[in-house]
Amino acid sequence: MIFGLDAKTIYLLIPLSCLAGALLAGLLGWKIGRRASHVVTILGVAVAFGLSAFVVLPDVLAGKTFNGPVYTWAVSGGIPLEVGFLIDPLSALMMVVVTFVSLMVHVYTIGYMHDDPGYQRFFSYIALFTFAMLMLVMSNNFLQLFFGWEAVGVVSYLLIGFWYTRPTAIYANLKAFLVNRVGDFGFLLGIAAVYMYFGTLDYGAVFGIAPQLAAKVVQVLPGVDWNLITLISILLFIGAMGKSAQVPLHVWLPDSMEGPTPISALIHAATMVTAGVFMVARMSPIYELSTTALSVVLVIGAITAFFMGLVGIVQNDIKRVVAYSTLSQLGYMMVALGASAYSVGIFHLMTHAFFKALLFLAAGSVIIGMHHEQDMRNMGGLRRRMPMTWLTAWIGALALIGFPMFAGFFSKDMIIEAVHHSKTPGATFAYLAVLLGVFVTAFYTFRMIFMTFHGKPRMDKETFDHVHESPWVVTLPLVLLAIPSFAIGFLTIEPLLFGNYFGTSIHVSTQHPVMLELAHDFAKGGESSVNRIGVFVAHGFQSLPFLFAMIGLGLAWLLYLRYPEVPGKIQARAKGLYALLLNKYYADEFNEAVFGRGARGLGNLFWRIGDVRLIDGLLVNGSARLVGWASSIVRQIQSGYVYHYAFAMILGLFLLITFFLHG
């Protein structure tokens, strides 16, 4: 309770304050001006963050959760479809992360978009995004989840295409929307299946009924029995694959870098793309009933984690490196979920939100400093010109590669440990993938750091002299994100993973005791929390992942600082592999050739042959010709004699009456 408002009003205020900011900046931005537009949106998001962090989170920690409707959207067949909130530890954590990163990005945008004519529009969009994302995480039912799900997708579409005159941007945003729609296609079918078999879309009710349906079998293909829960889980996961960019629906995320950098940080790294991870964690009572579905999540996540990381190695655009890194890290989160370590997945979601937002914003700071140059081949040595950006980027990088003590270390090590313990089919493959992924991550991350900030500048002196550190509105968010990127891991690992923070909001079946084993290992560290974390960190320095990370880092140092002429030679030697990675496994070419051209080809076929030739040509005009032919015969009957006609009429009437009397 604050200011005498009841809980529900506060929950409503959180998304609505963002929406109010978005509407003001969007509809009245032309009138109130740039300054007022960023003031109202920042104010809205600040209110949302303040309430989430200082009212909702303490409430939830004190055990005060909420689950109730806001209004009834519609009723059909006696089943109410509602808009409502579920405020529990899981959603509270997401609310804090989303509003905090969003607030940082809002402040940063003042600097980044300073000279852009679409300033107000941009603020309106990101505030609207925050509203939609909050509605998604706060939902207590599948309908509103889908609302938020699609709404964040639309804002993402609008923001990728923010610079709507650029052909690449408007190609990328259409592609992002359509690929996401493929995911949503599965997602919606999953929701329809839930509606049919559970008779409700309310989370609480569905999770309550789920165990009773655990053994239910349905036949989608005649004669083939499928487990209902597996079917629903996989359909829902197809949605998650779209939103969280898992292979093969990952193709849109790298292209989404066409959008301004602040949204790459907010939407395409920290929040929206993690919606799929959040969704699976939220649905843990369902996923826990199907080992098959968990296995699918695990394997898809592992493939994404490793193979997308590889692509990051050959990218030269600084934002694309971070984008492929995001794909890979999303894969890590999925692996955690597949291993039934949901809390670890959410833990990594949180640490990743901070350090990846930091890395994106740092990349953005470099891009402003370099006057919108994004190619790392034209950078180098920026450390001296942009010390603050450099320092914070190092913190982000160390967190990303999982250097002990940094936030990413705790979450990533726990994922590797979890999958190591997991018995879910595919776990061995996933373990190898995430372990090798550590090497790949360290390599591309420090390749980026070295190419950007270290070594000799690869630009002319004049350009280099003009590079300068970004203004405080840009560096302040960097610093504020660097703090949790370092500290959030050891501060929260105990309560989040082993302290029962999530309580009943995450359900793990006793058949998947991965978390218990992790807790058991962790507890060996000693009596006090400091001891346990100290032992864990000390152990981290001797672990296999650390070794792999150091090899990656060292190799990056060798190749990009010590012997910078070598990578070119390797490239020339391994042409095939290099081309494969540079072309992202030719996924875009495949999609364009098969789905793009296929759909247009079918459309043309149906139109030109089906509609124009067959229906219009043969049936419509054909029947016209038939009538012409028939009338040329029937014309003979038109004798012109009235008695002929009268006779025909009487005959006709006679036949009709006969039919009606006897028919």
């Binding site: 209004y71 009834t72 959207w73 519609a74 009723v75 059909s76 067949g77 006696g78 889908f146 609302f147 699609e150 709404a151 639309v154 579409y157 609008l158 295409g161 709507y164 005159t165 052909p167 408007i170 259409l174 929307f177 359509l178 729609r181 493929v182 949503d184 296609f185 919606l188 079918l189 929701i191 329809a192 299946a193 509606y195 049919m196 349905v218 989608v220 759909a599 247009r600 079918l602 459309g603 043309n604 149906f606 139109w607 089906g610 509609d611 229906i615 219009d616 049936l619 419509v620 016209a624 009606f660 028919g663």
Partner: protein, 493 residues
């Protein structure tokens, strides 16, 4: 007193008003004709509001009944009445007509009074279709409403208007004739033209099938269903903007409405027996037409094909025989009225400036018309079925319903998520986004306040229905339940 004749008022007020507009004469008096027409349209809209306000949601019985003798010799009566389904259609009709009058304010400069009068008269006739409870009365309204539409396309249409009008006429006429035979047959069976009596009339198997086919001929052309849809793209392309709006928003709903008022309750056994065919044709409409829409070069054709695909959802919803399906289908009818009407108005806004409907003649419109681009974005998203817009409500409920019938129905129907987004947003991208494509686009001016008015009203309608569809669905629940009960009860002799 007024409430007892509320339906007659809704029908005859625009017709009489339309005749009054005609009396203003030539184009010298055009300003007066416009003002008068707007007044009539507004009054006619206001006249339909008491129908909603006074509507009782707790009964499935027909309401606002009027019953007068008309042609005693054949027991033909002037019998009117509405349920929750027709109520929504009537409101949609009077709402759309107001927008059309505003939309043609400056666009039509030639035979202004006649143009506006045609729409007002057509409004009354269409409301007549939705409220007639006598077979012959229904048929008269059904045929009569076509006349103003032929005139609108034939007089104010594009260069190929004669071909389009004749195609439209032939298609619909063929269907109507068969429907008349069915109506006469039912009269002989039931002894009256009372549609409600037909609902209780038992019929043998073969007559049921034949009646179903006869009605199908009439209604499937109007919807239109694949493969009798090819008149619609031609008619839309040639029709003036207002004609397209009414055609898409209201006339297509006539066919769908016919299934609910005639086919399902009168011949339930045949409806069930042939449901597979209806579902098949509906799904073909969604998938096949969705792909055809993708490759269209003409904006109006694209939206016309999109209409057919969206109407596929309506017929699919009807013939899966569950509450979600039917209610979703009716919600889709209302939403499609808003969204396709809005999209045709958007194309009209562009056409008035550049006199082209070709997608390739545009590009980068957002640079010159940002406000327009924002409106069209909303309508494009609604057309793609975005949650929070009206376009989602119907599609969502129909997919929920279809899943209950068969997984694959839902699977094929849900492809609209992909196709609908693909054809709508690809068109949007090519027209609105990008660099300014040519010097004509560079000279574009953003929408006027009059254009902002009708687009704004539709935007509000689209959002309200998307965010809170309950008021739309609540009035139809009992009617739909009753309808489904009729449709589920065998009437075989």
């Amino acid at each position: 007193m007024i409430m007892q004749h509320a339906l007659s008022l809704a029908i005859w007020l625009p017709i009489v008003g339309g005749i009054a507009v005609l009396t203003t004469g030539g184009d010298d008096n055009a300003p007066m004709a416009r003002r008068l027409a707007l007044m009539v349209a507004l009054l006619a809209f206001l006249a339909t509001l008491p129908l909603y306000a006074g509507f009782r949601v707790d009964t499935h019985a027909m309401q606002f009944i009027e019953d007068l003798a008309w042609i005693d010799a054949f027991n033909i009566r002037y019998r009117l009445g509405i349920d929750g389904i027709s109520l929504l259609m009537i409101l949609l009709t009077s709402f759309s007509t107001v927008l059309v009058v505003i939309a043609s304010w400056q666009v039509i400069q030639n035979k202004v009074a006649q143009y506006l009068a045609a729409f007002l008269i057509m409004e009354g006739l269409m409301i007549g279709v939705f409220s007639a409870l006598d077979g012959i009365l229904f048929y008269v309204f059904w045929e009569a409403m076509l006349v103003p539409m032929f005139i609108i396309i034939g007089l104010w249409g594009g260069p190929n208007r004669v071909y389009a009008t004749i195609k439209f006429f032939l298609y619909t006429f063929l269907g109507s004739v068969l429907m008349l035979v069915a109506i006469i047959y039912l009269y002989y069976q039931a002894g009256s033209f009372d549609i409600l009596a037909w609902h209780n009339q038992k019929l043998a198997h073969l007559p049921q099938i034949l009646i179903f086919v006869a009605f199908l001929a009439a209604f499937s052309v109007k919807v239109p269903m694949w493969p009798v849809h090819t008149w619609l793209p031609d008619a839309h392309v040639e029709a003036p903007t207002g004609g397209s709006v009414i055609l898409a928003a209201i006339m297509l709903k006539m066919g769908a409405y016919g299934f609910l008022r005639f086919s399902l309750p009168i011949v339930p056994d045949a409806s069930h027996e042939l449901a597979w065919l209806m579902i098949l044709l509906s799904l073909v409409a969604v998938v096949y037409i969705g792909l055809v829409a993708l490759v269209q070069q003409d904006m109006k054709k694209l939206i016309a094909y999109s209409s057919i695909a969206h109407m596929g959802f309506v017929t699919l919803g009807f013939f899966i025989f569950n509450v979600q399906g039917v209610e979703g289908a009716i919600a889709q009818m209302v939403s499609h009225g808003f969204v396709s009407g809005a999209l045709f108005l958007c194309v009209g806004v562009l056409y008035d400036r550049l006199h082209s409907r070709n997608i390739s003649d545009y590009g980068g419109v957002a640079n010159r018309m940002p406000v327009f681009a924002a409106f069209m974005m909303l309508f494009a998203m609604a057309n793609a079925g975005l949650p929070g817009t009206s376009g989602f409500v119907g599609e969502f409920l129909v997919i929920l319903g279809a899943y209950q019938a068969n997984f694959w129905f839902a699977f094929l129907a849900a492809t609209t998520l992909i196709f609908g987004a693909a054809y709508t947003l690809w068109m949007y991208k090519r027209v609105i986004f990008g660099e300014i494509a040519n010097k004509h686009v560079a000279e574009l001016t953003d929408i006027s306040s009059r254009e902002g008015l009708f687009l704004g009203i539709l935007a509000i309608a689209v959002l309200v229905m998307g965010l809170w569809p309950a008021p739309f669905l609540d009035v139809m629940h009992t009617s739909v339940e009753h309808l489904l009960k009729q449709a589920m009860t065998s009437k075989l002799l």
